[in-house]
Symmetry: C2
Subunit: 139 residues, 2 copies
Amino acid sequence: MEIRIGDLAKRSGCEVVTIRYYEKEGLLPKPARSGGNFRLYSDVHIERLQFIRHCRSLDMTLSEIRILLGLRDNPAQDCGDVNALLDVHIRQTEERVEALLQLKRHLLSLREKCSGARRIEACGILQGLSDCDHPGCNA
Amino acid sequence: MEIRIGDLAKRSGCEVVTIRYYEKEGLLPKPARSGGNFRLYSDVHIERLQFIRHCRSLDMTLSEIRILLGLRDNPAQDCGDVNALLDVHIRQTEERVEALLQLKRHLLSLREKCSGARRIEACGILQGLSDCDHPGCNA
DNA sequence: TAAAAACTCTATAGTCGCTATAGAGTCAAG
DNA sequence: CTTGACTCTATAGCGACTATAGAGTTTTTA
Ligand SMILES: [Zn+2]
Ligand SMILES: [Zn+2]
Ligand SMILES: [Zn+2]
Ligand SMILES: [Zn+2]
């Protein structure tokens, strides 16, 4: 059962151009071609693209995904690297959450500086952006 | 008191190329030039760059910053737009935090599927990336 | 005073993960 | 047999920088 790129796009919820991009980047193997030079995908491609899209939905980079796919293609080894990659990724996610929460506190402390519609010159927010007293602000 | 681009970079904690980039993007006005065609910055530039870098540290985009600078340069109006811009930015930050926390839950549920060093074929993480049972996962 | 080091200049290309466009070819339905 | 939907390749753009090359300027050192 071979499908064309548009059907694969619908199944996987991504754009046609994205699929071609993954092929160019070496994440998806080159598919067979029809007489009219259309790409023809089989089950292997469908599953592999789902894997890629799942990883992307988890915010992995294409090079992380490349690594995982490479491991998957070498089933003889053990999976320590997989677990390690995921651990790093989880930690990075936690760090980004922390950074964003810090950011939000900073933004809220700035927001408090202006109550309503003053003149621009008197706006505490703009003043705070020039000269900030938020703890830990390096600006 | 006029300083050169390298000194301005040190003061503001950003790269020389970034300063030139801001000039090209119209965020920093074109400075005076020395006899040897070096950029010469004054207090106005220093303060404006600090403002920009502070906004960037708050994760504002350059076009948001352009808007704020435009408002700052028109001190006659009231500051309602400033407050509104900040409110939108705060809400976006909250949404990103929520999305990241969701992501982290997803990653942790995946991580649980593999305890130790199995063979690649038996790794629950790789299997979960192909065929996920995490609630709300569309992959 | 001359050579070396440090700085600056412009212009251009690369990063990431797509997205958008142009211009041509292929295929199925009416 | 024409219309429309689909596909092909190649190229450029997004945002906010970063990196590089090759030339010119200024400061430091010998
Ligand atoms: Zn205000
Ligand atoms: Zn601050
Ligand atoms: Zn495992
Ligand atoms: Zn999932």
